[in-house]
Symmetry: C2
Subunit: 114 residues, 2 copies
């Protein structure tokens, strides 16, 4: 996943559409959904054990963590020889607003086929 792929920078799409797509990409792999859920579940920062929690290679987890960090949904703090990761509340809430607006579009009159 990259930020500057062709379709993301095209003027073809609105800012919102690009934002939705970008955030959705963060969740579009079950490993990242699992990482985020885990960070919420333990309700604190964790140093280390994500690799044990999810059965993927250390380098793969690191790659997923980097993507989540680039998007801003998590943050990492160096803690000695390990890194503590946790949800970035502020950015998570910003993301939630964007996604909520998208998910809660009004459907009331959209029923001609149903």
């Amino acid at each position: 996943m990259r930020l500057n792929i062709f379709s993301m920078t095209e003027e073809k799409y609105t800012h919102t559409q690009k934002q939705v797509a970008l955030y959705a990409k963060a969740f579009a792999h079950p490993a990242r959904a699992a990482i985020l859920q885990y960070l919420f579940k333990i309700k604190t920062c964790i140093c280390g054990d994500i690799v044990d929690e999810i059965g993927l290679a250390q380098s793969t987890i690191s790659q997923h963590l980097k993507e989540l960090k680039n998007i801003g949904l998590i943050q990492g703090t160096i803690e000695g020889t390990s890194v503590c990761y946790c949800i970035n509340n502020e950015n998570w809430n910003k993301m939630k607003e964007v996604m909520n607006d998208f998910l809660h579009q009004d459907l009331s009159q959209n029923n001609c086929c149903q």
Copy 2:
């Protein structure tokens, strides 16, 4: 996008995590976000003009529509020589529930790095 890619069928992830990833993939391209927004905006079914609305080839739009239809978020009804597409309310609401649960996980105690 396919439903049966390796990572989606692995027992490694929970049903929820796989569902979140699957739904997120639907939004993970700005063209699909745009198509869905457009279907909401016009508040009715549309026969045709999605191709004009979004500047992509007809075959590309058709591909995106197929993906959205496979996931169940939209439905198409043949109407003469064209096809009327609209949001599938029931499935959209199911998706919303899954995504809402994921997005609204409790953050209150998750503040040790912030």
